[in-house]
């Protein structure tokens, strides 16, 4: 069947790896669209206190008389509630942006902490090798045989509520993915010629690990990182919805959706649906960006 091989023309090389990466990334319209959406979501969340018509958690600004207004209705204080209001009269648009802040903060914080811990453990395992490596990776495999959501649920069951506890639960349930990725990549890199050359030069093992091998793990780490942040956000929302995540004083999107749940059966869909759409937009756009990043950064996909 060797006859069927078709030689594809070699693509013109961009000047720098980054420029080449950028060019390849922007080839996909879906990914660019997702990136723009994600950018808008992040900016809106960051600017929430300055662009929302009300601070939904400042009791002086919330009027119970405005409770459960359908979308587009005008509030007592005069502005239009484009997305309606919730059970205690908060403007949903404002509440969603404030909720996004919390959801994103929790997701990114736990993602970054898990990334650091996982990277360190993975590198350490590849660095020491031998029995310690086997032991660490056995543990990683053991944890990965349970779904992250279940691990997180177990942890909150043991730890209780609170932002710090949720972040801890998310970190513990996710660090193993990074550890496995880094260790796998490090193992591949360790046997490459440039590492052997570095060893011949007499560079210290630690220096080789951090200066030579770690930079090569960045690609896979970024890919795993985007997917994990998305799943952390989604997981936090799930836990909060179940009532075992963030408390009412930290109303993330999950908490908002949970609060709207009771009104859903009576047809007041918007209290749950709009925060859900915001969550959806965030998670799906991160996943789409991550999906495309994997295609671009994964050398196996490139012919």
């Amino acid at each position: 069947m060797t006859d069927t091989q078709i030689i594809a023309p070699v693509p013109a090389k961009a000047e720098t790896p980054f420029a080449q990466f950028r060019a390849e990334f922007f080839e996909s319209k879906i990914a660019v669209g997702a990136l723009i959406t994600l950018g808008i979501v992040v900016v809106l969340a960051l600017l929430a206190p300055w662009i929302t018509p009300q601070n939904p958690y400042d009791l002086a600004q919330v009027d119970v008389m405005d409770a459960r207004l359908p979308p587009g209705e005008e509030a007592f204080s005069g502005y239009t509630m484009w997305l309606g209001s919730d059970g205690s009269g908060r403007d949903l648009f404002s509440a969603i942006l404030y909720g996004l802040r919390i959801s994103l903060a929790v997701g990114v914080a736990s993602g970054v902490i898990a990334l650091f811990i996982g990277t360190f453990v993975g590198l350490f395992a590849a660095y020491v090798g031998g029995r310690v490596e086997t032991l660490i990776m056995r543990f990683v495999d053991l944890q990965l045989s349970f779904p992250a959501s279940l691990v997180a649920l177990m942890l909150v069951a043991l730890l209780g509520k609170g932002v710090d506890k949720i972040i801890l639960a998310l970190v513990v349930s996710q660090w193993a993915y990074y550890a496995r990725t880094v260790r796998a990549t490090a193992l591949v890199e360790r046997h490459k010629e440039y590492v052997e050359a570095a060893i011949c030069l007499g560079l210290s093992k630690a220096r080789i690990m951090f200066r030579h091998i770690l930079p090569n793990c960045l690609g896979p780490l970024i890919v795993v990182g985007t997917v994990q942040v998305a799943s952390a956000i989604s997981l936090e929302a799930t836990l909060s919805f179940l009532g075992v995540g963030l408390p009412q004083t930290q109303p993330s999107l999950g908490v908002l959706i949970a609060n709207g749940f009771e009104y859903m059966l009576s047809g007041r869909y918007w209290i749950s649906v709009f925060p859900g759409l915001a969550l959806l937009l965030t998670v799906v756009s991160i996943n789409l960006v991550g999906d495309h990043l994997r295609d671009v950064l994964n050398p196996r996909m490139k012919k």
Partner: protein, 325 residues
Amino acid sequence: MTVFIIRRLMQALVVVFLMSIIVFFGVNVIGDPVAMLISPDADQAEMEAAIRRLGLDRPIHEQYFAFIKGAATGDFGRSFIFGEPALKLILSHMPATLELAFTALFLAVAIGIPLGLYAGLYPDSPISKGIMAGSILGFSLPTFWVGLMMIMLFAVHLQWLPATGRGDTGTFLWFETSLVTRDGLSHIMLPALNLALLKISLAIRLTRAGVREAMGQDYVKFARAKGLSPRRVILVHVMKNILIPVVTVMGLELGSLIGFSVVTETIFAWPGMGKLLIDAILQLDRPIVVAYLMIIVLFFVLINMIVDILYSILDPRVRLQEQGA
């Protein structure tokens, strides 16, 4: 083969043992059992009495051995809320959860594999692209939110199916199940579909990838060169190769279905052990939480082991490696 099964059993025992340590110390070291168990406005004497009664004043390893001894005999203590043995409560809620999980698994396989097969056979057709887009959504959408949307659409808006609860149950063989009554079926529809969504997406992706790979293989071309009908090529030559890995992975997902049912059961008020767990967490009913965690661990380990063994029986290639090893 026997050696393999024994080795696999040993591994499973080690995992269960490790997890028992983690769960126990998780409860007693990370979490503060005193704070979890005793109301904050209890006075000093009440607190000390409670600590003694629960054995919390003894050294930690003694507590652990007491816990293991209890766990081995099925004694995880009594529920604070219901006053019944925790294990008994969980076991009584288990059939509802298993019923839900197995129905979801069935749906995932019955819907996911044919869709994946289609998408793999005709990768460029618009329908296939639709299927794949759907599976990406299935992966990205949080289960609980999809559940809400399903309730809103099918129960509130269209009023086709009931939103919550488990319907009438009937007896089939010696099981009590809602799958044999009309009312029961209509109640299980939405939650099972909700629980299955993620796994449908998974089955679609796995099947599609497998079909795409198999279709390019020489043995498929050789089968065509033998003059077999496309039907036989696909159903026998392609599917037989794909089904083994796909079914293996789907079997492994049964554990996660049981775990995930926590979310689905909460949304649809399905009276299974997941709902029991959430209620227990919210009401700080620690014995139930601990018993649930241990049972879930046991489930996972058992399922992984059974699937592993089945896989090695099903796939002739693995069988040979085992003989050679």
